[in-house]
Structure formats: C-alpha cells, structure tokens
Amino acid sequence: MQEYLIIVVSAVLVSNIVLSQFLGICPFLGVSKKLSASLGMSGAVSFVLVLAGTITWTVQTYLLAPLGLGYLQTIAFILIIASLVQFVEMVLKKFSPPLYKALGIFLPLITTNCAVLGVAIINIQQEYTLGKVLVHSMSHAAGFTLALVLMSGIRERLEDADVPESMKGTPIALVTAALMSMAFLGFSGLI
C-alpha cells in the first residue's frame, strides 16, 4: 500500500510530468489559454495515457522482452500509441458523440504527445507490475491535469493583467511556466 502511495505522490507532485520532467510541454503551452479547453485536453490525455500505459506494458512484457527485442521499445510504443489514439477516436465517434465533440481536436493531437510515450517508457524502466503501471499512469495523468489547470487559471488572469507589449502572449506564458516549475522544485524533498 505504502509503495502505491509513494508512486502517487511522486508522480503528481515530486516528478510532475510537465513541471519536473518537461514532457508534454506542447499542450501545456498550446491549450492552456482557457480553463475549459485545458480540462478537455487533460481529459483526453488522461484517457489515452492510462490506456497506452497498460497496453505498452503488456506488449513489452509478453512480446518484446521474451524475444529480446527491448531496443524496439521506442518505435513499437509510438506505433501502439498512434494506433490506439486512432482507434479510440473511432470508437468515441460512434458510441459517444458528446464526448467525441468535447475532446474533439485534442484527441488527434495526443498521437504525438511525448508525455504519453514518456510515461509508457518510465513504466518499463521502473520495472513496475501491472497494478503499479495502472496507478503510475493515472497519477501522471492527474499530475498533467493539475499542471494544465493551474497554468490555464494563471493565464486567464494574465489576460487582464497589464503585461508589457513585448512580453504579451507566449513570452509571459514561458516565464509563468518557468516560475511554476521552480515552485514545484519545492516538492523535491517530499520523498
């Protein structure tokens, strides 16, 4: 039990996927202008992250590892994630049009999201069991959501702030991201 708790705390706060490991920066900056959009993106990423984490672990454990093909990890995982996103998109479109519309453009974007690939590879590196893989993936998804929601909240307020002309838009967003990342450094002594 304690092990799982440590995985959760470390994934959400200490080694937050965005703010400590600097993965998934693209949606972090791209889809954080509005709170509603960032929630949609977080939902889509969480969904794919957990699914992809589980499937890549299964493929690695039962196919690549027994055959001694560990070096194919990266390319195989990209293949899996890309197909998975396509598949999920089709299924959602058919069975849950409201959810498909809500996630909409975000789903295809996740195909090349490095946060998803990153978590899948960390899962393997840490030699987790299936249970731990699930918990670890979910925690990282929660960490991603946390970072995105915090960022979009700040950026919504920045809209009204008196930002110097040359710093408006992306520059101030990057500064904000840097400050948030430094703030998250404070969690590093937690475990």
């Binding site: 493929v59 196919l63 690549l64 055959l67 001694g68 093909l69 070096y71 194919l72 390319i75 195989a76 293949l79 899996i80 197909s83 396509q86 598949f87 089709m90 299924v91 479109k93 058919k94 069975f95």
Partner: protein, 293 residues
C-alpha cells in the same frame, strides 16, 4: 534482426487490421448533402452566419438549426441553391440588414466630464468612471466596433462617433456583439427611421447631458399616423422606440422631434454596391471583402 523486422511488421499488420475493421465497423455516415452544400457556398469563410466558416454553416443547414438566409454574402441566389439541395421551399427572402448606431451624442452634442486618454478601447474607457461622457448610455467613442468590423464598413467620424457605410455593411453582427453599450443594432435596409438615443433617464436629466437626447416628450407618439412609435418602459426609465413592423418611413416623427433624436436616412440599396457604375462579375457573392481590402 529477422525477428525484429517480423515482430514490428507483425505489430503493424495487427494494428492495421484492427484499425481497418474498426473503420468499417464504427463508420459514422456523413450526410452527403453537406458536401453538396459546400460546393455552392461562397467560400469566403467570413463568419457572417455566426458559424465557424462555410463548413459549419453547411452542417447547421442540414441539421436545420440555421436559416439559409443567414448567409449574407450568398444572397437570394444561394438560398435557391440551398433549397434545391435540401429539397425545401425557398423561404421568403429576408432583406439585408445593416448596423445602425443608436446614439448621436458626438463631440459638441454630448457633455463631457473629462478627457479620456487611456487605451483606445470602449471597454477600457467604460472602466474609468463609465466613460468620458456625462451620459452613461451612449457611445464611448473609442472605436471598438470599427476595429471589430471585418469589412471596413465602420469608420470613426469627425464628431467621435462611428459611421456605418451601409453599402459595405453585410450585417455580420460582429460590431453588435463587440459594443459594450449595446447601442449598435441590426436593422433591415428598408427601415429608414430610427430613434438614435437609448437614454432612459427623465427628459430634463437626459437633455442636460446631451443636446440630441430623447426627452420623452411623446411628440413623436402623438404625431405618428401609424401608431408605430411609442415611449416605452426600458431599464429604469422610458425611451422612445419605433415598431419597424408598423413604420412606413413617413418621417413625420423625425421632423417633429424637438431634439432631433429621431432621424430618417436616405434609402439604402438592397444589394451590396461595389463601386458606382460597376456591375459585379459572374460568381461574385458581393461580400464586399475586396473593396474593404
């Protein structure tokens, strides 16, 4: 090496088959009418219909959530094509609408409390003491509507008020949404008489703040032969308002109004005019974008 190739190829084939089967099994049928509609759209993607581009408009048409007349660049000819594709009757052609400014209190008419020198934006101007004018209802003269207009139909006049070029205006509603005072209104081109004041304060207070304000004297109401104009309750007070259904553009109210807060404009043509003496080429949707640019 062989194993690696086989393994990866195997994975690829398996996923390919899964996706192929899924694409067939989970296929969602797209209405073929949407594609046909896309072919007849003006393709300007101007957003005048209030939907994201011509594609969004075509989808909404098939769903029936929008009227064919919502496309102002397309005009009557597009409505006929849409009706042919959707198999519906051509609805009565709705006349072109243009934006009308319901305020005449420019510099010289309206009393100013101070000089605003902040950001040139109506919302920003309103944030400091409800704007520089004594009147809290009228135009704040910072030109947010002019900036919002995608067709360049709104220019700021010498008296500080925006002037709408009725020939360029496509009735896209963007300025109406942008105006924080909500004093821009879409009015059909056949309606020439407008009450250009929305001040609901008592006559004396309104007159003290602006020389062209509605003073609620009801002279318009008494003189109207069609019973089309009334001083009605609005907000915390009253203000004159014309019922466009009844108004016949006779202009008596405009002539009798003691403060000239009602005015009658010269007739506006039904179609968007490009240049005087110039006939649009075949296929031109008359959207006015070229002239604005």
């Amino acid at each position: 090496m062989l194993f690696a190739v086989l393994c990866l190829a195997g994975l690829g084939v398996v996923f390919g088959i899964i996706l192929g089967v899924a694409a067939k099994k989970f296929a969602v049928e797209v209405d073929p009418r949407v594609e046909e509609l896309m072919k007849v759209m003006p393709g300007a993607n101007c957003g005048a219909c209030g939907l994201p581009g011509c594609g969004g408009f075509a989808e909404a048409l098939v769903e029936g959530t929008v009227k064919p007349s919502a496309c102002s660049p397309g005009g009557a000819s597009l409505q006929e094509k849409i009706a042919a594709i959707l198999g519906t009757e051509v609805s009565t052609y709705e006349e072109r609408q243009v934006a009308q400014l319901l305020c005449q209190g420019g510099i010289g008419h309206s009393k100013m409390l101070f000089r605003y020198q902040g950001i040139s934006d109506c919302r920003a101007a309103l944030a400091s003491f409800k704007g520089q004018k004594a009147c809290d209802f009228g135009c704040v003269m910072q030109g947010s509507c002019s900036k919002a207009c995608p067709f360049g139909a709104i220019q700021m006049g010498a008296d500080g008020l925006p002037v709408v070029d009725y020939y360029l205006c496509t009735g896209c509603n963007k300025c109406v949404v942008e105006c924080p005072q909500q004093i821009l209104k879409l009015v059909g081109v056949s309606h020439l008489v407008n009450v250009r004041c929305v001040n609901t304060e008592k006559g004396k207070d309104a007159k003290g703040k602006c020389s062209v304000a509605c003073i609620k004297c009801k002279i318009c109401e008494k003189n109207c032969p069609e019973d089309a104009v009334h001083v009605i309750e609005s907000g915390n007070g009253t203000v004159a308002l014309i019922d466009y259904e009844k108004c016949t553009n006779c202009g008596i109210c405009a002539a009798k109004c003691p403060t000239k807060s009602i005015d009658k404009i010269p007739p506006i043509s039904e179609e968007v005019v490009l240049e005087v003496g110039e006939t649009p080429a075949a296929g031109c949707p008359s959207c006015g974008i070229c002239k604005a640019a």
